[in-house]
Symmetry: C2
Subunit: 212 residues, 2 copies
């Protein structure tokens, strides 16, 4: 099944999306990239949208599987942040964040692509979230952050940077560097321990008060 036509069509779709984006996807362009007959898309997937949906989900699945062990090996916030950087850099070459971002853009009208991207995003956020929970356990940060929301924010941020990079590579690099710096700051809070905890608690009280 490795060299099967169905698989080749998915790889063709990946290639078209990576190099030209979702707007360039058509039965003909994908079939051409896959060196397959255009009619086979409809035989194997029924329609083009379904092909894209399956492409997005399986590609994401395969990349997340690739990273699973590495996420599991992470035990500190610093390590997690370093892994995040690695993901961004590796996917810059692998191109699967581009695929997810492009499919997400194509999902604006809802439909099958919305369902598929929702599923694909869930695969990333689940991995990030569980790593966050593990890493933040016992940290003063745990008390004030929601790993669930944070995992989503991080995933969304990565997608945004991926899109940003495509039109401004230098700017994307700067953005990544800035995030790394912020990461260090979070680490510092972590290390400050009880001092930071007290400070954060005081701040939260102040903020809460001010908003009443």
């Amino acid at each position: 099944m490795v060299t099967g036509t169905k698989q080749r069509l998915i790889e063709g779709a990946l290639e078209v999306i990576r190099s030209q984006g979702i707007t360039a996807v058509s039965a003909r362009s994908v079939a051409s990239a896959a060196e397959a007959n255009q009619a086979l898309i409809f035989y194997h997937f029924g329609n083009v949208e379904e092909l894209i949906a399956q492409t997005c989900v399986t590609a994401t699945e395969s990349r997340v599987d690739e990273y699973r062990e590495r996420f599991a090996a992470v035990s500190t916030l610093t390590e997690l942040l370093a892994l995040g950087q690695t993901v961004l850099v590796e996917e810059r070459a692998e191109g699967n964040l581009v695929v997810l971002a492009q499919t997400l853009a194509g999902a604006q009208r809802g439909g099958r692509l919305a369902e598929a991207t929702h599923e694909a995003l869930g695969k990333w956020t689940a991995e990030v979230e569980s790593a966050l929970v593990r890493v933040l356990a016992g940290s003063p940060l745990m008390e004030f952050t929601d790993p669930r929301g944070l995992a989503r924010a991080v995933s969304a941020g990565f997608l945004g940077i991926t899109l940003f990079e495509s039109v401004d590579p230098a700017g994307g690099e700067q953005a990544l560097a800035a995030l790394t710096q912020l990461a260090t700051l979070a680490d510092v809070i972590d290390d400050l321990g009880p001092v930071a905890t007290r400070a954060v608690r005081a701040k939260l009280r102040a903020v809460t008060k001010a908003r009443r």
Copy 2:
């Protein structure tokens, strides 16, 4: 010029992109939304890509102008973060972050859209950056953050959350909430002043050492 056909075509393009995304854009769909004749797109813009490019730039310009005074009024990090949230919420209704994100996706193949989105992104990042520089002046944070890169990271993050929201509104909300919490943490570091500065410096030395 307010009710001119050219303007109506731009508004039609905005409507199509907002409701159905970049993949649904065509001379016919836009003309229909603008209640204008399809041929007029080619008379006024030459081709559809140019229409989208101008739509993206002018829409971004108008929204950024809308926020300029509010950015200028910001004098603390907390206020800036609050404004950031406001932007995200208001643009959720206004829909112009969606337009920028969608155009960015359409810019994957380069060409005119890449140029236009580069320009549009620059308008946002310039505003965010100048506010960051002002707000971080004299803060211990200034020493360790690059406002230029941070502004790009923030802008990219907003675009990512915007895309994320379109397929998972609840998740987008959680992401936004998590960022707000992180914002408070940054604020705390700011308030800690010299204590934080020393801690961050020590941490940076440690990190630098570990990487050698």
